[in-house]
Amino acid sequence: MQKSLHIDPGKCTGCLQCEMACSYEHTGTFNPSRSYIKVFTFHHEGRFAPYTCTQCDEAWCMRACPVDAISVDMATGAKVVSDDKCVGCKVCTIACPFGTINYSQATGKVVKCDLCGGDPQCAAACPTSAITYVDADWTGYDRMMASAAKSLPSAEATA
């Protein structure tokens, strides 16, 4: 079964535990500037939005890479950057429509979410379940359920 990160921005409080967990997993330090997941604050709207790679099946970054540095982790479906192969050309950052693969001055390579090998630490650290790791076939169904509930106000849907 493939799983996906699922993000519900409405539940995010902006605490950045996800950014610390991500950086701790990948660099051994609590360092939001090195996190592969980012929480954006829209102050005047009172909104927070965590955002990271959605692991496209037909990944633009992977197709654009001239040195085949990005490959699929067959266990998780994550698109993973090989530091040995990456030359830091940044073409993938242009190709990605979502901006979720990024160049790191600290390493001279691009960095992106690798799903922590199947145990994403951002989801584990999120105190409000704004970030969850769910069955990939279930993506979007919670919103469908919410819409369904609205269309039938008295119903208490279970699925």
Binding site: C15, F30, S33, G46
Partner: protein, 616 residues
């Protein structure tokens, strides 16, 4: 470890920035943040100095846990000699600034001297430089934040700044970081202004990776987070209602002061409560509360983000105030609301925005306006002073108008900027100042709740609930319930809360965790992060040491037992009605015993024996 072991010293007179190693001998005795920076201040500053003179220093400081994955790890403090009180000041703030400072590689910044022109500190990791801020002088905190971000094109930069009120000499100006978090009390922002230091802008990318025992730390912090999540206050009450959950509770038990503490009990409390903030309004169907929000690392998320009704008189035709921003917390809602008699939620939210935008402590500001209102009603202050504003209790329009006038500056703004002690002296009514050591009370009446009165009277930074929050015990039963009107046991209770708070404030964590955490939850997190012995016993001793050190600073500054007192109103004017009717604060029954349990002399001095025990 967890300390970065780096101190940045900024000499504003010379314009120099130099790095020096953290004094680790002191770190073992005072931990960090409040304790450690107060130690530096005590060693480097003459307690008798003019708080607004160049010989005072201004310290921004993190704790060893700041910036780590421990819950609520976003705290930093501003430590200095306070201009409102003349006592040692330590104001604590959340948001994101503190963690950014730590990520840039610094435990603290010590500002000394005075710049001959306005400057701001630009700090990018280990690169520190003072930049000209002439173009920022006269700007609000919000404008300053926007301009610095735009200048450096760095959206991730975190900024702490003063607004216009600090520049205008208001003695209780705050340091505002991340636009709506404040190191609010005692006038720490005024000290920044006195040094011509407008702002500190930080970008930190170094990370915090030197925790002493990483596995034990992750275990201890995960255990701590689970306790916070399962606790009714930190897991449910605070995220849903914020500290404002207290408004109806404190009013209900007869502990909510109103109208400059002339009354206890506020008939408009429910209109300005957490429940009211969640109620959809008629104009656009939206509630005042837009969302809750967390500071850096916080898994509680008690912060309020609010939106004023766009049709409300205060923001109509002012689109810049129609968006979401920092909403009312309980203390601000009380001081701006119940204490002024104003029960218009939108007006209070707007005034709260202005407190954030122009950087003033909403507790002292609200309480000072309340004192002015009482003097206006008594005829000591007239419309000639106020520029035509009818400054009566409960008048929302007047309150909004006087606040706008205050932010812009002017003659009466200068009067209000004095704080209630100097203001009431100036107008010949000193008995109407509701202060200890010159600082205004927060939202719990010491006549209705005895222990908090003793805490106010003995607080080292002047009246403040955040020095020993006995309300937890006396009202909420945490960790054990004590009776509101009992004085027995309160001296011991106050000492225990004061010492534990001093430790938490020295760690980088938030005091709100202590609704759920005891020292046996906190000490293991510090112990795993830091080298040395951080057992529960040692942590409590560090807290007691910090408290006594602050007291010694104040003693050297000229404070005596005579300053450990409450205004006459709270000792002699009994509560007129409600569940606490007839009560006054019985400080005289508690204070001698308090001195005794602290190991002090009968006149409140710290004897040699107690100093020795605490390595002072």
């Amino acid at each position: 470890m967890s300390w970065t072991r780096n101190v940045l010293r900024v000499d504003l007179s010379k314009g120099s920035c130099t790095s020096e190693p953290l004094n680790m001998e002191w770190a073992k005795l005072y931990l960090g943040q409040r304790g450690l920076a107060s130690k530096y201040l005590s060693e480097e500053v003459d307690p008798k100095c003019d708080p607004l003179g160049p010989e005072n220093k201004f310290i921004m400081t993190t704790g060893p846990l700041t910036g780590t994955m421990a819950s609520t790890s976003g705290r930093y403090s501003c430590v200095t000699k306070g201009p409102l009180t003349g006592a040692i000041a330590c104001s604590n703030s959340g948001g994101y600034f503190g963690a950014e400072l730590k990520n840039a590689g610094w435990d603290m910044i010590i500002f000394e001297g005075k710049s001959d022109k306005p400057v701001y500190l630009l700090l990018q990791d280990d690169k520190a430089e003072l930049r000209d801020a002439t173009h920022l002088w006269g700007k609000t905190a919000w404008e300053t934040d926007d301009i610095i971000h735009a200048t450096h094109q760095e959206p991730q930069m975190r900024i702490a700044t003063i607004g216009r009120t600090a520049e205008n000499g208001c003695l209780y100006a705050a340091v505002i970081n991340d636009k709506h978090r404040a190191a609010g009390r005692s006038g720490v922002g005024t000290v920044m202004a006195s040094k011509n230091l407008k702002a500190v802008a930080v970008r930190g990318t170094q990370g915090i990776g030197n925790v002493e025992d990483a596995n034990a730390f992750m275990q201890a912090t995960n255990d701590g987070k689970a306790v916070l999540a399962e606790n009714a206050v930190t897991g449910q009450g605070l995220p849903a209602f914020g500290t404002q959950v207290l408004m109806n509770v404190i009013n209900g038990i007869g502990g909510l002061p109103a109208r400059n503490m002339r009354d206890v009990g506020f008939e408009g409390a429910e209109h300005i409560s957490a429940e009211a903030m969640a109620e959809p309004r008629a104009s656009d169907g939206k509630p005042n509360l837009t969302t809750n929000a967390a500071c850096f690392g916080c898994t509680i998320a008690c912060g309020r983000i609010s939106t004023v009704d766009p049709t409300h008189f205060s923001v109509k035709d002012k689109p810049q105030y129609q968006g979401a921003s920092g909403g009312l917390e309980y203390e601000a809602a009380w001081a701006l609301g119940a204490d002024t008699g104003v029960d218009d939620l939108d007006a209070l939210t707007y005034v709260n925005f202005l407190c954030n935008e122009d950087g003033m402590d909403p507790i002292t500001y609200g309480a000072t306006v309340a004192a002015a209102m009482e003097m206006f009603e008594d005829g000591n202050i007239t419309t000639e002073h106020t520029g035509g504003i009818e400054l009566t209790f409960g008048n929302a329009e007047a309150f909004v108008a006087i606040t706008e006038q205050f932010c812009q500056g002017g003659t009466f703004a200068e009067d209000l900027g004095l704080g209630s002690k100097r203001l009431t002296e100036k107008y010949g009514r000193p008995e109407l100042s509701m202060t200890v050591k010159g600082q205004e009370f927060p939202a719990y009446d010491p006549r209705g709740i005895q222990g908090i009165g003793l805490n106010y009277a003995t607080s080292n930074r002047g009246a403040c609930h955040l020095r020993g929050y006995t309300i937890a015990s006396e009202v909420l039963g945490i960790p054990v319930k004590t009776e509101l009107n009992d004085t027995d046991g309160k001296p011991e209770l106050v000492k225990a809360f004061q010492d534990a708070t001093a430790l938490v404030d020295s760690s980088g964590l938030c005091i709100f965790t202590t609704f759920a955490w005891g020292m046996d939850n906190i000490a293991p997190q510090i112990d795993a992060a830091c080298e040395g012995d951080w057992s529960v016993e040692n942590c409590l001793e560090v807290g007691e040491r910090v408290w006594n050190m602050e007291r010694l600073f104040n003693e050297a500054a000229g404070f005596t037992a005579d300053d450990d007192k409450l205004p006459k109103r709270l000792l002699e004017e009994a509560i007129k009605d409600g569940p606490t009717k007839g009560q006054v604060n019985r400080l005289g029954e508690m204070l001698p015993k308090y001195y005794e349990v602290r190991g002090w002399t009968a006149d409140g001095k710290i004897p040699e024996e107690t100093r020795k025990r605490l390595s002072l």
